[in-house]
Amino acid sequence: MFESLTAIQLARLQFGITAMYHFIFVPLTLGLSFLLAIMESVYVMTRKPIWKQMTQFWGLLFGINFAMGVATGITLEFQFGTNWAYYSHYVGDVFGSLLAIEGLMAFFLEATLIGLFFFGWKKLSQQAHLCVTWGLAIATNFSALWILIANAWMQNPVGTSFNIDTLRMELTNFYEIFFNPVAQSKFVHTVSAGYVTGAVFVMAISAWYLLQKRHVEFAKRSMTVAVSFGLASALSVIVLGDESGYTANQNQKMKIAAMEAMWNTQKAPADLLLFAIPNEEKRENTLEIKVPYLLGLIATRSFSIEIPGITELEESAVLRIKNGQKAYLALQDLRKDRKNSVAMQQFNKYKNDLGYGLLLKKYTQNLQHVDEATIKKAAHDTVPNVTSLFVFFRIMVLCGFVLLAYFLIGFWYSIKRRFAEKPWYLRSSLLALPLPWIAVMSGWFVAEHGRQPWAIEGVLPTFMAASNHDKSSLVISFSVFVLFYSVLLIFDVVLLKKYIKAGPDIFSMKEGA
């Protein structure tokens, strides 16, 4: 079944699948941790034991999910070393340090506090335990912050430069990396999506209890908390999603053009396509339904700035590839003679396009003589797969707006205190359960697949980033992960189902119990 795939494609598929799998658990952890902190705060303020029961029951489900998240996160860290050796060498100086700081600052705290959260109920005072829960929520979010700073650097590699002796990217300005505009919008967009996920999870399970008329008080209160939290988060996801689009347009124009299936530059402001069937061969769309001017307004926030189309961007890549080729050749001269000032000058002039020169290495190892046709092919490689980006982006946005409507209606019922009388809303809550995951997975697909052919945008092509393993090693590891992860997922679902069925009464409401 793996015949048609190359070793690099297998490595990419492996990373994609294991990252997506990890991200089944992460958003839920992000969202539930804050919901737990809110519920426990109410408990400490009102001393009503039902709020403690809520914290403990949702905490139990949180814990099962957290263990899966931690376990599957290690896979991703290891994979940089095992499958992406050249990546680790080329950007470890920057990317590795961000992961290390994440561990130091956030993950350690998170993992320590989770033990205190579960086992500290009787050992800590109420206030101390509440601090632990809030600390857990905050640390979880800090953890996401550093990971997203690292990811944002892959999308927009600021604050670094190439070192001709060590042959890698090195840190020059940490401040720029931390305050990378892509990181800021991406962070809030991603954690808000996590909050939405947590809220929908709580809503769906509570709705199920209400439909069965079990644990009614527990379920109503849980829904009230989740619906307001979910509404605020859904708004934030959409606003910051728009911000992400705006910042992406500053440095990843190809990604925007591909997401919008914009084959050619339009007169400003560009139209927004609601629906179309893109044709990659002919570079045109059929069955277009569009809103005039809207894309231009969202992506540039102006009436006059043009958004370049795919064909024009591909043409401008040709020049960058030629410059990159010059930088690469100058670098080879510098490797032979470090004091060669002509080569140094040439290198410094073109070094920002070095990554584009590396694109040629897919076709030839000798960059001295490259014909126009090869350069054309390399330029063509800078175009990601348009149809999938176009479709998944729309799926994500659609899920986002459906969830916003869902929370708006829910919020109205919650004010009127009428959840229990609206079986259609409760049933739709069950249907809404998969939506946040569909949105999150689609979103990550657009973000990461839309960056192709780059591992680091404009710096390191994906095909160069991999280790030089033969295919058999990757087939082994890939098969191990698929089998092993499927079994784990079954266990996880079995356990969650068991506890959801058992309901919150496994935690007694008596004080001190």
């Binding site: 050796a85 050249y86 060498h89 130091l104 705290l109 033990g115 060590t166």
Partner: protein, 376 residues
Amino acid sequence: MPSLEMLQLIWWILLGVLLTGFALTDGFDLGVASLLTTLAKTDEERRLMINTIAPVWESNQVWLILGAGAIFAAWPLVYAVAFSTMYLAMLLLLVCLIVRPIGLKFRSKMPNQKWRNGWDWALCVTSIIPSLLFGVAVGNAILGLPFTFDDQLVLLTKNVFFELLNPFALVAGLVSLTMLIAHGAAYLRLKVDHPIVERAHGTQKFFSFLGLIGFVAAGLLLNNTCSGFTLESVSPFQNILAKVVGVQLIEESAELTQRFFNSSTKISALVAFFGFILSMVSGKRKAVVGFLGTSLSIIGVIATAGLAAFPFILPSTIAPNHSLTVWDASSSRLTLFIMLIAVGFFLPFILGYVTWTYRVFRKKLTLKDLSDPQMY
């Protein structure tokens, strides 16, 4: 900003500190779980054992994640070479590291005896394998791995698995396995109030004894049968390909013998010896002394391994000049410096809250505690 060499040296030591932190804390988690099926006779006893580590294992495991992160950040080439070359061993390690957290968390969540028994064996096996693999990996890091670079620093390696299981590395693996099992037994003695501690006491003495024999055997094997590397010229500007490394049998080279048995290595080896012996002679009621003994043995063994290899971190057996050393395999000066600030700021903080956590859970566990629904 300190000089590059200074920062490299600090980060070499810090790497040792993080790995020692991992071995001291997650080490007893591994040890306790390794003993799960042999030391405990009933389900209650097994739950007792698991619950000694339940509140802290998540925190302990971060030492490993942080250790790996520190290698990635401070020694990116080491990360790339070690993980790519020992590919299948890393995969095996990873599978174990994924099964363990889930096993701990899921095991007691179903009353079904088959489910629990299955997880117990899984926990046991997935704790023994990593404990062994850590030693095997360190042993191979001392001997060197088969890798080389092309002129663009693209790593060329074949991934090896059975080659890793050479006599020296296997003995090193046994040392790490036995010392971690002894450490786990020592931890149990500190944490439970139940007759099981008597069994743990015997186990601790036995495995510390095995560890001591293994440690001596590893030293003799290394000195009599293995090649060592000498750094003859350092790379300029951290250009890793531009240095010269010599290879000689250790016993034939006066310089190497001196390096492998120089005074600092002697001190660390003495610490290890002292730790093993202290653990073996600790009395029934002296659980703290026993734990101190196993801790010292771990610190001594890790320090000895590091010092014996210095300044090499990962020598190359097929292209010695491409070996990774402390002086050329590190990150840039600025990165090392920024990370040092981060460590200087956060590590004391981490040690603070981790210590506090252990204080919160300082009470010994009894069978009665297991009725709490939060318990595993």
